[in-house]
Amino acid sequence: MSPRRTDAGGRIDRLRTIRFTFDGAPYTGHAGDTLASALLANGVTLFGRSFKYHRPRGVLTSGVEEPNALVTVLRGEVREPNIAATMVEIYDGLTVVSQNRFPSLSWDVSAVNQLGGKLLSAGFYYKTFMGPAIGPLKSTRFWMFCEHFIRRAAGLGRAGTAPDTARYERMNAFCDVLVVGSGPAGLMAARAAADQGARVILSELEPHFGGSANWSGETIDGMPGADWAARAAGQLEGYDNVRLLPRTTVWGYYDGNTLAALERVTDHKERPGKGEPRHRYWTIRAKSVVLATGSFERPLVFPGNDRPGVMLAHAAERYANEYGVLPGNRIAIFTNNDSAYRSALALKNAGAAIVAIVDVRPELSSEMRELADEAEAKILAGHAVVATEGGKALSGIKVQRFDMVNGALAGDPRSIQADCLLMSGGWSPTIHLASQAGAKAEWNAARQAFLPPKPTQQWIGAGAFTGSFSTAEAIAEGRAAGLSAAGGTGAPTALPVVEAAPGDPDPAPVFEIKADGKSFVDFQHDVTAEDVRLAHREGFVSVEHLKRYTTLGMATDQGKNSNIPGLAIMAEALGKPIPEVGTTRFRPPFSAVSIGSLAAERFGDLRPERLTPMHDWHVANGATMYSAGLWYRPMIYGHPGETIEQAYVREARATRESAGIVDVSTLGKIAVQGPDAAEFLDRVYTNMFSTLAVGKARYGLMLREDGLAFDDGTTWRLGDQDFLMTTTTANAGKVMQHLEYFLDVIWPELKVHVTSVTDEWAGAAIGGPKARAILAACITGTAVDNATLPFMGIVHGKISGVPVMICRLSFSGEMAFEVYSGAGYGTHVWEALIEAGKPFGLVTYGLEALGTMRIEKGHVTGAEIDGRTTARDLHLDWMLSKKKPFIGSAMMDREGLIAPGRLELVGLISLDNQPLNGGAHIVEALDEANPHDSIGHITACCYSPALGKYIALALVKDGKARRGTRAHISDPLRNRFGPVEIVSNHFFDPDGSRMHG
């Protein structure tokens, strides 16, 4: 048996031995132990080194609020730092190392930091490293030099670099009542709500339900509290409407009664079970929440209060009662309230000697004197601990007479031998979730604590959370809260009877004993009482500033132990009562949350891939695919040895010489149908559609409400009330939403239905001098001659047995046809067209050749319709109807949109026969060393096989008036400068004779 393990008691299984290592040394513990309880049982007192001063630190608490005993857990290559030893359940093979020590925990070179005294006091970094260089030891440059060493010396655990191989899971849950915390109040609340038929979730951050009932030593319903809790939890397990979540921390309380919780599913296991994630991130939407989150015991602030062996009183009580571990054999107690007397008795009963109870209060109740007698402990009333002694373990304390009215110490210090000192500075309700939910906490002078605010969301408090610290009150409040949360009233039945030690819940208002030496307020960030006073002397009056200057409460424990003592010391320095100094609002998370759980199932590239019906054919036939938004489109169909430019030039040239075919399935397609469809399109487009004949298509332009250009495309009239609108690929979603908005919000009286049919159609555009002959060779059921299928005409027919719809329109400037078939037949029709085209020299072409031919024709796309250009800027004013209002018509002629000096669409020809670059600026006069005075920029560029030149489209200030003049490319980023000629954007076949044929 380990040196500090009791022979009996607690819920550990003494028959099951568990082996683990700490800093490489083997240890054993028992099933049910935490890392902290197992190491304490082995006589380990030194758990870590402190953040700034590298002081030796032991374990202060027994739970989630632990600031000192932080360790790194290793699992294979993965290391997880800053885990509280009090929250690690041991398992066979657990491997843990201590933190912030070099070269070893017991011999640490940086511990010299603590000899430096003021060296690392509050504001050290700001004072030493900020501001101008005055002398050799100032300035930010000096910081750069020192940073490496300081970062290494001051800090917590080191993060790992190996990828986390664990799996994380996400869950959404809905319930009527979420009960947070499973102490007596939470168990009663869950039971009461469940009995009303409510759907209940009960969460508990510890592995076992029961909270303080597991270690208080109290009797409930005639049985030990731990047994009562186990029975209550077991009964809840039998309810179909109750879900129990152990090892689950509710860490965030958000709008609409939405709560976030982290379930640690397998951290306590040697290896996860099949299909089990490591952590599960719960989003719980609860109609009502019962907050039964209990309270935290506060440390007292006095010199040496951080020495290993100094511990919170209830934590020692818990180690003794729940884990069968004595944190010391000769135990002294230092308190300002009654609760520590029960702790004294528990440790006495577990086998320790209580050498003294040092109480700051001069007068003690007879009940406390009786408890002390029972614990065979001597009371030193009106005394305080003024120092602790020892190195890596406590050897003794010094006490002095203390006047709690003025804080004065008197008489000679007296030494008492002890290997453990328990302290209790009163209790603070765990109001974090309530604070997150919205309202400000209220100071209660009797309890010397902030009590939960009035609910701003649907929650009810119960038990110690509300400041009701006795178990009997917790049981009564818990049941009432559960009933009320479930909307029930319930017949009053007898409550479980509690037998508990007596005690006054109100502590004496003493937070600090002022004596020589470092008195720690924030253990994790090494902030002392003197740091808080220094901040005050330097003029910091707001708590928020105090926190940032001293970093009080800003460590990973978020000040669970230090907030109230820090505030009290600041209030005293300011000469103000605590409530006037204020408290900070708690923010999520309540305790550390694994990043893995936040990312669970939502990492990597989550965007869907959109593939056209002919995608596989393109890939199989040598296409280089290019991602355009969500779509994948062929860029080129390269031949072996070809560059991209060679490939697209070949494809474009062949198209203009014979014929080419391109997949246009990605164009947005919207069915606009209904009696008012034509009227609706008249309002949406700048030009008329009501005059369009059935079986004809028209090019249309849309503006935004503010009068700027929005999107363009052709719309086909398939029937009197049936239109097929096409949009640019990139804007398909935006145009759909735009149409829906106007139909739903602005013009609900219009009888029009819009349906996105982009994915229903496969489209192939076939163009070039031979295009009509190719089509004629494979089409049945219709002619495709000029009379039957004129420019912008539509016919229906069949290709290889499949119904198709063909519209004669052109993006390339050639005579061209868009052939649409059902998406499922896309490849079939595509292959039939390819086959029919073979004798005519038909080529497949990709986006690059498509872009080249559109630049040659001067058509605009998203690069020119960039949200800043108007129809006039793009020379599309011929499309602005004067016969009707349309979206944007009222705003498009505003002063700034028609003023001179606007960027207008032009064509550019490279005069030095060198390629042009998209985004390059255009200047009137070249000044390579000092580029300035841009008059515009290039939006698209290519080598034009039709012109045999490098050309570009550009937006240039007063561009139309500059046609025929010269300018220069100024692109210092890519070091490209050179002369260009400004021309019309219609480079090729400006009168359209080729497409009209």
């Binding site: 609409g256 919205g438 409400e705 503010d706 829906e740 739903d744 018509s889």
Partner: protein
């Protein structure tokens, strides 16, 4: 934040797209009153409290909804169809049953 779509029931805000201030009045299409157009296109209320907003259930039924949301608490006190009538909903339900 949950928005209760009259068609689909309570849904997470992630399914919705904010479509702007619901207080805006679009001038008559032929209106030449530039001040009115300017107010419609550019002016937005920004109250600390209840705000009329338009949301589209873009990840669901795609209906536009008039939502009254408290900008301080995110409490939603009313949700209605932006179309202003519930005939569409009734029709939708009838078709669903048929």
């Amino acid at each position: 934040m949950l928005i209760t779509c009259p068609y689909c029931g309570p849904r997470d805000v992630i399914e919705f797209t904010y479509q702007g201030d619901g207080n805006r009045e679009r001038p008559q299409p032929a209106s030449q009153n530039l001040d009115a157009w300017n107010a419609y296109v550019y002016d937005r209320l920004n109250p600390a409290g209840d705000h009329n907003e338009i949301w589209q259930h873009s990840g669901g039924c795609r209906a536009h909804l008039k939502v009254v949301r408290n900008t301080l608490t995110h409490d939603i006190s009313s949700v209605a169809f932006a179309r202003g009538d519930h005939k569409a909903a009734a029709r939708h339900k009838a078709e669903g049953k048929a």
